[in-house]
């Protein structure tokens, strides 16, 4: 049996914050162990480099409003957008709030909509830094 190992060096660029569980330290330690075991060259391991996902593929697993939020935060002035919303203890865009309110039922199921905090939801939630509160201004 061949085991697939999906890996690209660019994965090391992903760091939400230094203390977030998904941080470079943990991934770097994991890669060190894989490299030392020779698994990147093992004849029963197939290393698959990541490919850039299409928007359609991203929308399969993430809410459109969340993607829009990331696009806004990643664009020019995005950091100020993030800071502004964080300072207001708000981690969701108004457009996302409106979209969520306009829906009768959340696509993620009751109690797990994008307007819930990261601690209660695993999909469609924003992982913005700063204090997390459930209120929306």
């Amino acid at each position: 049996m061949t085991t697939a190992l999906v890996f690209g060096r660019e994965f090391l660029l992903h760091e939400q914050s230094p203390s977030h569980p998904e941080r470079r330290e943990r991934l770097a330690y994991t890669i060190d162990q894989l490299e030392e075991e020779g698994l990147f060259h093992h004849n029963r391991v197939r290393v698959i480099p990541p490919i850039k996902a299409t928007r359609g593929q991203v929308e399969v697993v993430h809410h459109r409003g969340y993607i829009a939020f990331l696009e806004e935060a990643s664009g020019p002035g995005g950091s100020s957008t993030m800071t502004r919303w964080s300072r207001k203890a708000c981690w969701i865009l108004p457009s996302l709030q409106r979209e969520a309110q306009s829906r009768q039922a959340s696509p993620y199921g009751e109690g797990n909509s994008p307007t819930h905090s990261p601690s209660s939801g695993r999909r469609g939630t924003t992982h913005a830094p700063g204090p997390v509160q459930g209120s929306v201004t």
Binding site: P18, E25, E35, G38
Partner: protein, 481 residues
Amino acid sequence: MLAGMDVGGTNTDIAFVDGEITSLKVPNSAGIDLALDHAGRHGRLAVSTSTPLNMLLAGGTRKVATILMPGIGLVHGGGVRGAVNHCGDVVEDIDRDEIDRYLRANPADAVAIAGKFSVRNPVLEAAAAECARRYYPVERIAQSHALSVLDFPARAATTRLNAGIKEEVSRLASLLGARRRDFLFFRGDGGLTTPENALLDPSILYNSSPAAAALGAHYLTKLSGFLAVDIGGTTTDLVPVENGMPSTQELTFEGARTVTRVVKAESLPFGGDSVVRDSIEPWRDGNALAFGGRLPTLTDALNRAGYEIGDYETASALERERAEEVIEDYCDRVAAAVAAHDPARIVGCGYLAPFLVPEIARRADRPCVVPPHAACANAVGVAVSRVSLTLHAHFDGSRGRVVMNGEMKRVERVGDDDELIAVCTAEVRRRALAAGAHPRDLHEVRVLHCNSFDVVRGSYRASRIADIVVQVAPGITAEAR
């Protein structure tokens, strides 16, 4: 003045580069002392010795006992106690009695010692080596930590190779060092290294002769992209050259990957000393008739066809028709191999290149060049190469240490990436200068790898860990340009 020596199977080629190029061949039967007499006492001397090392390995007579310390992670059969984790902390000490029992139960010619994550902390390998010293001299013990790269299985295979040839490299280093203390070894990737570094990783000398021929061909022709066709006594080597440097590939040994990169060369088992019977045979029995041998060879076939190489009249024992068939057969075989590489052009090297390479090129339908001094292109390549050095550094701020090429040192602070790259660049320059590099060869230091991250404890940034790899790349020394 730059002097280069390539110890081949039959002759030692010597070249001097000092504005002009001079070259000569000294038969190995006359002894290496005579070759060293010809090499002189002045200027820089570099030596390629891959042929005797390749022959030693091809013989496969060296039995190597391997002490593996697989530690944490995947299990490897036959391992002993002792473990270092990914941070370089010792989490289990070795059991000296266990190693002693293993060595007594497995008598061998040499010992290889490889521990997982020893590149982060070599202390357990060093302790195991101390145990092995009770049974073996240091020249027969190889350790893996100086190989510097993460990849335990490949490091273990490289260490086995090193254990098998370390004593021979040590003998050659002593022999050459007795005459020229400042000599340098030519590496299989086309750079130069000190005898001390070669003893830490003798595998870097493996298969250096094709690299020397390719580098020499580039220097003599100033071409940057071609296929070098090096006709030696035993083999004909084809070496692709891109941007003036031979391509390299991972070396495999006993079917296993190693961490060593050597020149990419296709070796055909026919050369000037290949015996001729009904056809050309893939083996040799000493020299050609023209140089005092017992059996007719490809060289003698050329003489029978009308050339005048050495004592050419001795070729009369060969039938002319058979001699011509043998030459055609040889040229066809090499031309087919050349065509498979699809080169833009070929450059001929070796003593027989002027006689054979134009015909090989015609049959392969490729343009060719046979430069002056082609007979000693390998020695020219050794003479004009430069000191190359790769520095692997792992900084760990929380433990206050840095490991550079397997040596652990204290470090006060771990700065940002730019600061660490500057530290490593300065260190690799310092080491290269100490190894004999020309200062103008150190203007460019390549950063091959840089990765760092913060260590977070209790939501606070506690320290930094960084891996940096920098290199003074192999190539032509500024002194020869």
